[in-house]
């Protein structure tokens, strides 16, 4: 869970992009890297191998410093989607503060989405995290492709879960990415605020938290 360093007033949060193979997790992160203009952003660390498939993970550090002096960091990780890299997924997932689940909108990929979500549930259990209390944002990517499941269907399907509504996105075209990230930040704020008193101790409210960490420097791309 959130790593708080009392001496340096440094709070590090870990966000993991999860989802089936080739659903666009790394593309999401690359888009965030190019679209976001947060106060502080580090280098995008991409550890990919041949065919641009993620073998280990990608990592992007971003950060802000509150007026009260809190050094707030987000580390955004992607996991490898391929089934065989399960131990890497588990290692990256441990101590996560939030998850962005990147699902594939194509009809043919619905089974893979379900398998991957099930895998997320199991791995969260293995690393001791309760899926019900973890902030999760759900994104349906690849809206630009033909033969995709309709938005209404997807909304209906996820209606009764804590992760509704899913965000429609196209990482390649660059829309829906910041929105997804913001949905997660809003949910993340609630749990972190409860645990570390962001508002009462450091004077950061939800709006500031979301705005300053996802400052897109202008128009947020919408579908």
């Amino acid at each position: 869970m959130a790593d708080f360093d009392e001496d340096q007033k440094k709070l590090v949060l870990k966000i993991v992009f999860y989802g089936p193979a080739l659903s666009g997790k790394t593309t999401n992160l690359m888009q965030l890297h190019s679209q976001l203009t947060p106060e502080r952003m580090g280098e995008l660390m991409v550890l990919e191998t041949k065919d641009d498939r993620t073998l280990f993970f990608d990592m992007l550090p971003i950060g802000m410093r509150s007026q009260s002096g809190l050094d707030l960091r987000l580390k955004l990780y992607t996991v490898p989607g391929q089934v065989q890299h399960d131990s890497t997924r588990k290692a990256v997932l441990s101590r996560a503060d939030g998850v962005i689940f990147v699902a594939d909108s194509q009809r043919a990929q619905q089974h893979n989405n379900a398998v991957s979500f099930d895998n997320l549930d199991q791995n969260l259990q293995k690393v001791g995290i309760d899926i019900e209390s973890l902030p999760i944002a759900l994104q349906f990517n690849k809206r630009d492709l033909p033969d995709i499941v309709e938005e209404a269907t997807l909304r209906e399907r996820w209606k009764s879960t804590p992760w509704t509504p899913p965000v429609m996105a196209s990482a390649l075209q660059g829309y829906g990415i910041i929105e997804t990230f913001q949905v997660l930040l809003e949910r993340l704020f609630v749990t972190i605020d409860a645990e570390h008193g962001l508002n009462c101790r450091f004077g950061i409210d939800k709006a500031e938290f979301v705005a300053r960490l996802s400052n897109a420097g202008g128009e947020v791309h919408h579908a």
């Binding site: 502080r40 280098e43 280990f56 550090p61 971003i62 960091r73 131990s87 290692a91």
Partner: protein, 379 residues
């Protein structure tokens, strides 16, 4: 780097040699002194960042833009060093995790394999013991049915012969007396005198023959013991003697038998079955000496608890291979039809049922010795 999430310090990413090498290279590029250090010191310094953390400083009395350029160059280098370390550490930790998972699986597999092997072994033991129980039950059933049949037959034969032989014997005696009367009444020089003498000889021969028949019938009755119940007090010497008679009469050229019988206490037992067992052993000995040899039968009261019967013959003997199977049901070395292969099987079953033992040793061509030991008291 402890794990892949840990924010590393400069010393964790670069060893002192690499740091001094970088410093030397930077200095020669800048054509003036530049140092990469982990703390700022008191002079002019520009921070070196990695993942938003300041992890080192470029110091040197140089213009700030030059230090900035040097810092950025070091940042590029550190980025790739960090990336490599990250991948290596994650690889190690996932490999270890996979290995541990494999070890656990292996251990679980080994345990379940052991469990199944134990199960299979105990199952095999149980099957074996059940097979043994069934085999014994079958044999006892077979044996008791056979004994009963033999017993009924013997009793029937004995009963049927006993009456006629009785009046034949008494008639022959009376006939003998008539011959005496006739001899007195006949004149001295009568021509029938020779016929009469011959007639007397015929009658005596017949009387001897019928006496022998009566004794065989008596043996048969003793052997079948049809009127005796379960366990009774048995005189082994007596049972042995009747069995010997029976064997001698059932073999064409009655084999020569010598006996050394000690005084024995009566032992509890099933007389018919013991007779059958002794008969079977003696019958085998008789068959072994068909082409010459003798049979010696000995009984001894070896100690308070045991009596010992030894039947030794100097016949053809048994080869080692056959000896291994001698007690197997239906194992026979004789021609088809001449033996059932059950004789010694039944003998052993009977002796075992009486808590005794039977042991056979043999030298082919020299002879065979059968030792039977029976408890003197019922356990």
């Amino acid at each position: 780097m402890r794990d892949f999430e840990h924010d590393p310090s400069l010393a964790e990413l670069l060893d002192p040699k690499a740091i001094s090498q970088l410093s030397t290279l930077l200095s020669s590029l800048a054509d003036s002194e530049l140092q990469l250090e982990s703390s700022a010191g008191s002079g002019p310094a520009t921070p070196v960042e990695l993942n938003l953390d300041t992890i080192g400083w470029i110091t040197g009395d140089n213009p700030e833009p030059r230090r900035r350029a040097a810092a950025s160059l070091v940042e590029v280098v550190l980025h790739y060093v960090y990336k490599y370390r990250l991948a290596a550490n994650l690889h190690r930790s996932t490999t270890e995790a996979s290995f541990q998972a494999l070890e656990r699986q292996n251990e679980a597999l080994r345990q379940s394999e052991t469990r199944y092997r134990e199960l299979a072994e105990s199952l095999q033991d149980r099957v074996d013991s059940q097979v043994e129980v069934i085999r014994q039950a079958q044999q006892e059933l077979y044996e008791s049915a056979r004994l009963r049949a033999v017993g009924y037959l013997a009793a029937g034969v004995a009963h049927e012969i006993n009456n006629p032989i009785g009046f034949i014997k008494s008639n022959l005696k009376v006939a003998n007396e008539y011959v005496d009367e006739l001899e007195e009444a006949l004149p001295e020089q009568h021509t029938c005198q020779d016929t009469l003498a011959d007639f007397r000889a015929l009658l005596e021969e017949s009387l001897a023959g019928s006496t022998r028949i009566a004794s065989i019938v008596a043996d048969l009755k003793a052997f079948s013991s049809i009127d005796q119940g379960e366990y009774v007090s048995c005189n082994i010497n007596q049972l042995l003697t009747t069995a010997m008679h029976l064997v001698q009469t059932s073999h064409p050229d009655a084999p020569e038998m010598t006996t050394t019988l000690s005084d024995l206490p009566d032992i509890p037992g099933h007389a018919a079955r013991l007779s059958q067992a002794l008969f079977n052993v003696l019958d085998n000995a008789a068959k072994a000496v068909e082409d010459g040899g003798t049979i010696a039968v000995q009984t001894r009261h070896t100690n308070a608890d045991t009596i010992r019967i030894e039947v030794t013959d100097t016949g053809c003997g048994i080869d080692a291979q056959s000896l291994d199977h001698i007690f197997d049901p239906f194992f026979t070395t004789r021609q088809v039809g001449s033996g059932t292969g059950l004789g010694l099987t039944v003998a052993r079953e009977t002796i075992t049922a009486h808590q005794g033992s039977i042991d056979i040793t043999s030298d082919p061509g020299q002879g065979t010795r059968v030792v039977i030991e029976l408890p003197a008291k019922r356990k």
